[in-house]
Amino acid sequence: MLVCRQRLFPPVLPCVIKVAGSACGRIVAIGLLAALASSPCFAQRRSAPALEDAEVRFVEAMRERGYFDLTLDYLTRAKAAPETTSAALLARLPYEQAVTQLEQARTLTGDERDAAVSAAKNSLEAFLNASDNKQLAAEGSSRLAAALAADGLLTLAGAKKVGGDQDAARAQARQSYEEARKLYQQSEKQYDQALDDYKAVKPGSSEAALRLRLRIQLAGVRVTGSRMLYEQAKTYSEESSEFKQLNEKAAKELLGHYDKYYEFPVGLYSHLYEGWCYQALGQHKLAMGCFEDLITQDPEDPSFRTLITLGHTYLTKSLVAQEKHEKALEQGEAWLEELPRSDQLSPAGGSLKYQLGEAAVAAARAASGNDQRRLYLQASEWLRESSRTPNEFQADARKQLATVNRKLGTETESSLETFADAYQTGRNALLAIRPAGLSGDGEEEAAELRRKATVAYQAALLLVEQDTEVEKLNEVRHALSYLYWESKDYLQAAAIAEFLARNYSEDRIAEKSARLALASLDALFMEAAAEGGVSSESFEAQQLTEFANFITRQWSGQQLADTGFSLLMKVALQSGNLAAARSAIQEVPEARRTPLELRLAAASWEQAKRQSATAGDDLSARSAAQQARDTATKLLAEVFAKARNQREIDQSTATVALYLSQAMLDAGEASGAIKLLEDKKVGPLALVSAKAAAVDRPGYSAEAYKAALRAYVSATPPQTEDALKTMNQLEQAVGDGDAAEQTLRRIYLGLGLQLQQQIKELTAAGKQQEASRVVKAFAVFLERLRERSGDADWVNQQWIGQTFFNLGEGLATGSGSAADASPQRKSYYERAAEVFGSMIDRAKQQPDFLPSENSLLAARLQLAQSQRKMGNYAEALDTFSSILLEKQTILDVQKAAAYTFQEWGADGNPEQLKSAVGGGRTVAGSNKKLIWGWSKMAQIVGRLSQKQPKYKDLYFECWLNVAKCRYLGANQKSGAERDKYLSSARRTIRSMAQQYPNLGGPERQRDFDRLLKQVQQLDGKEPVGLAEFK
């Protein structure tokens, strides 16, 4: 970044204003000129009268030392106590504040920097609007312009990463330069106005000196303003007309400034920039004319030497572009040899060395044999030196050095003799990685550089000397850790970074290492989670927890500690330990808790949902799940109340808003949910419709529409039109095509299931009325949907049918069989059967209605299930048989058919129980039974399960039902016949328990135990269950 700023502003600004070209470099004015980037080029830091004021000097001194916070604090206090503040400082308070903020911004990065620049901008604008001090106003405008120009450069540099959005960055940078240019022009006008006060001054007077200084400052903003055009040109492609036009315009303006100010360094810098423009346009003769003017300045004067060096730098570049390599090397080297060592090591010297390196490379390419090697060796030397000095080409030098060394075949691990060599080689390679990413085959080159850096740093560790500074050694270790991170070797990265953070926690590198270690351990944790979950005892969870705990203590109260807490919470949530997550949050300062609380609330809700889904019919599990939901809902509501007032809605808040609306729906609060969903600022529907960044992730919009659908359907009265509109939006959001159709089907079915679950939960919570209302409302909605979707596609029809079926299931009580079904429940199964029946009929007449052959089979199965649930057993068995006639081995159909016989038998038709066990419905013309029954199914499944364990549970289910059918038979008999059935049931269970002591697992064991207790009870015995066989 430093390099870029150097290029935007003259690398060395003269401390005195001199007349160029004169033999002695006559000093004609006093005053310091602007510091790099923080102030406009050639502008003075502060106006002369202020020099006299001690408080102003004090502020200036604090700022120069980088005590920005202290300075700002001092200025705030000065403002609060005007009676004890000097008039001079009071008059420029907002200005000093803004300048300090701008200076501070230079030391920051990312969002912090943006915020500081923005605050400074506001302060400066406030000052400019309020002040009538023209000179300060002019300085202020140019300082602001400089900050914007620096922004442009940083934006461009930031985008020069592999994968960076360069087009967007260029556009943004261009805008910054345009704004900067306008501000420079504004500053120019303000300087003009300030000069009006010095129209009639005596030559040689102090006013005359002040006037000259103002003129030079005016020249400075003019030159820099024109240079903005050159910078803007760089935001376009070199082939574009804009690039050409802007460079031409810049060159013309800069030439004008040179003509006017050629006697002053500012004029010469204008000439230098003018040369850059010609160079960019490929007009090397014109460019060389400019640079030659510079190199003929007086070399004895130290302040011109920089300018001359820069002249040589760009002259070399132009000579190389014209393939005059020898001349380029000769002239450049000759000048470099003349330079004192301090100048050789200056940024300008580093730049010249880079261009000489490039010249040597170009010459080497044209040479062969020993000459070529000699030139490459020479290039390597120039480039190495350039890479060690901060200069505008330092990054390029590192990259080119790596290429040259590859050609020379040098710098292998064994060739590194000292720690310093290895360190520098590693560093050069590391710093060349980013520029390498920009070239055509950048990735490959970057990988090679990474390998090289790793080898060099590993070698450095073996070459540590006794007087090697521990900071340097740790820098090597940190770099290695970073390289391991880059290559996704997280374990290695974590081992090194954690060691550094723990053992050198007071050092400069510690915080960076801590972040790297946290990131590496987090990556390991996520990898483990992706591979099948992590428990809190796992290595990854423990390492991350332990280190995050260390971070929270070591960097207590700082942002890094918050990251630590956030990761502690992540581990706790991932391993389902909400209590630990809550504890972690308690350690975070109140003001910074909300983001973590949002995540906790969301995770609590997700966990409660999972708990509900797995609770089944177990009453205590259901009660625990309900409690978890209540707690989670409370948490969601509390944190949402806090977060909804944030200025910007982030992902977590959007998630919590969605979850809260789901929780409200589950609690039967449809109108509240609708209000939240539609809320203009935080409502999930509003966010989706506004395409807000907070909801830009897969699944969010579908979930929001699903919640809205549920809400509209569950509302009193149901908002059918809104529901239908939402369905359309949902379909649009999902899109077209096969994949979209499947997604839609899943969503609709999911919605049906959610409603079913909602109805179940309302029923379980004793909210019968709400449950019934939701069911009825939903059924009305479905009816409406059914009416309007007469020729709707298969997916919609199927959803309607399935949802009717699910509504019936949601009202299930007792055994869930048709015998226990209420009229309302039966009516839903009837409607489901109607829908599936009509789908099957239509498919017969209109084959293209069917998405696939399997779809028809599924519909027939669903029809049969609906018939079964209605209690139309014979019809259901007909339908099952028709399927089995085509595909007899479909186990799901066989099982459903056996259950149908069983339920029919239990419903007062004991003869059907025999078919349930022994099979029924023969194939015409043979004795072969289409429906196998539990007994035959058990045999077949038993064989299958030997090779495919997934069938084991079905095997036990078959035998359980064999015994159950006998029990059900006994239930309908009396006397000896009953005993016979009971004994048979008991025999079956005993036999299974003896053969398979665990009876297929805890759940099946419970089923067998429960059944045996029923048998024992009917037999007049004590219901001890499986204990009877022990």
């Binding site: 073996l462 070459l463 007087d467 060691f499 390492q543």
Partner: protein, 344 residues
């Protein structure tokens, strides 16, 4: 090894304090535990160096010396010293071989070259890359010819190490016992620790534990023995883990790591290896891997510990499904420590 005469060496060590006057170049530098002293080395003995700093002569005890660099020494010696310190003994030997001894006028510098040759040969012998007997003979010859060398204590310890490496534990114990005669408590502690380590090498962990406890008792209240105290604790941890008290061992190593100087590479490497071994015994693969990895990545300059870590890492990488890493680790072990017991 028959040519070694440890008792003769020891006898020469601590009886009369022999001082020889030497001529040395200006700007000799003695790096001590508290900084660097520059001046002219005037006299050396097994227990101190006399350094002339202008008109003042400073006596620097050997137990405070970290290294000595002679102003007139050849650059190859300087580099060899760095290499030897970092465990690159072969490289050091190459550098030392390039030195023309006849061209060196100062005795002490010639001695220094001879010491490093003997020392590196001994270290290579312990890694299986040189002959143990020959290495022992070189060391013995060195002390016989240079009775006043300030390297005497180091030579004694190295001789003990060589004896341990060749399974001659009784003699090694006696040799380490000589260290305890040095005039500083930290050497008494060090001797006890080294004897304990010898017992560990013989799988006599109960006896080793007693030695370490004795070492800790000796270190009590002596500021100069901090590192030796940590070494004793570490020894205890290893023996505890080896006798089935894995958790106790792990806790103790972690305690050592908390108190250890991060720059003490030998101690750090030994501690992480102890931690890795303990986790391995507890069947905690990833934890063990992570511990050994510290040695590989951070302390590759401690050759024996590094070789041990690599030896354990290879199968551990395999266990976590990283066959490529395992292969690479085996290759490094083979390349760097081909003759080491850990590579076999």
């Amino acid at each position: 090894m028959s040519s070694m005469h440890p008792y003769r060496i020891a006898a020469a060590l601590f009886l009369p304090l022999l001082l020889v006057t030497v001529v040395s170049a200006q700007n000799d530098r003695v790096r001590t535990t508290s900084g660097t002293e520059a001046g002219k080395i005037e006299e050396v003995s097994p227990v101190q160096i006399k350094l002339a700093k202008g008109s003042i002569t400073k006596e620097i005890p050997v137990n405070e010396i970290e290294s000595v660099q002679f102003g007139a020494e050849p650059s190859e010696l300087t580099q060899a010293r760095v290499n030897a310190r970092n465990g690159s003994y072969q490289k050091a030997m190459q550098k030392l071989a390039a030195i023309n001894l006849a061209g060196i006028k100062e005795d002490l510098i010639r001695q220094e070259v001879q010491f490093y040759k003997a020392f590196c040969t001994a270290q290579l012998a312990m890694l299986g890359e040189a002959d143990v007997s020959a290495a022992g003979k070189d060391l013995t010859d060195f002390v016989r010819k240079n009775k006043t060398s300030f390297h005497y204590l180091q030579v004694t310890e190295t001789l003990g190490d060589l004896l341990t490496a060749s399974g001659r534990y009784d003699q090694a114990t006696k040799m380490y016992g000589q260290l305890a005669k040095a005039p500083w408590p930290s050497y008494k502690v060090r001797a006890a620790v080294l004897i304990g380590k010898g017992l560990q090498a013989q799988d006599q962990h109960s006896a080793a534990l007693k030695q370490f406890q004795a070492a800790l008792a000796k270190a009590e209240g002596d500021d100069g023995s901090t590192n030796q105290k940590l070494a004793a604790q570490l020894g205890m941890a290893i023996s505890l883990a080896a006798t089935g008290k894995v958790d106790e061992g792990v806790n103790l190593v972690q305690e050592v790591l908390k108190g250890a100087d991060p720059a003490d590479q030998q101690l750090q490497a030994t501690a992480y290896n102890a931690l890795g071994n303990s986790y391995k015994l507890a069947g905690k693969t990833k934890e063990a891997l992570f511990a050994f990895l510290h040695v590989d990545l951070l302390f590759p300059t401690v050759p024996d510990a590094h070789a041990e870590a690599l030896h354990h890492l290879a199968p551990l990488w395999e266990e976590v499904g990283k066959a490529g890493r395992a292969k690479q680790t085996r290759q490094t072990l083979k390349e760097r420590y081909a003759s080491s017991k850990w590579a076999k």
